[in-house]
Symmetry: C2
Subunit: 87 residues, 2 copies
């Protein structure tokens, strides 16, 4: 059994309107950042989990996304898993 850290990005699907992102874009324009064309705002979730292997950890985290972390109707998620090495 080892410890893994999973980084999960949960973003609204590209076809879904993102009012928070639009508000941030307007704010950046007001601050003078005129080169900004699009902004999308989502969630970042870091999960520390014990598992037998990185593959098992990723499978577990994928199930967590399906059941709790993401809304599959409007959101996509991506997962990266790394082993936590003792200092």
């Amino acid at each position: 059994m080892a410890t893994f850290i999973a980084h999960v990005n949960v973003m609204l699907r590209p076809v879904i309107n993102d009012p928070q992102g639009l508000a941030v874009k307007d704010g950046l324009h007001s601050l003078g950042f005129e080169g900004v064309s699009t902004v999308r705002v989502g969630k970042r979730v870091d999960i520390t989990v014990d598992a037998d292997s990185a593959a098992t950890a990723e499978t577990q985290v994928r199930e967590m996304c399906r059941q709790l972390l993401a809304n599959p109707v409007i959101e996509d998620f991506e997962i990266t898993v790394a082993e936590v090495t003792a200092a």
Copy 2:
């Protein structure tokens, strides 16, 4: 002038209490994911920006974080920049 996509992760500093992360951890335990030991929840912001180079884009996005996207008192941020290639 080229177009770059910047991925920004804004997370509460490790010493800052994260009630949202604790709530998610409790929810995952309730769902049977007993192997989860810590959960931290933050923001993920994807910004499309026009700039002369990747370094310029990153400098601009770092300034956006300082001025709007992150609260430097309680949050850390990390930035990755990639050029958007035309299809």
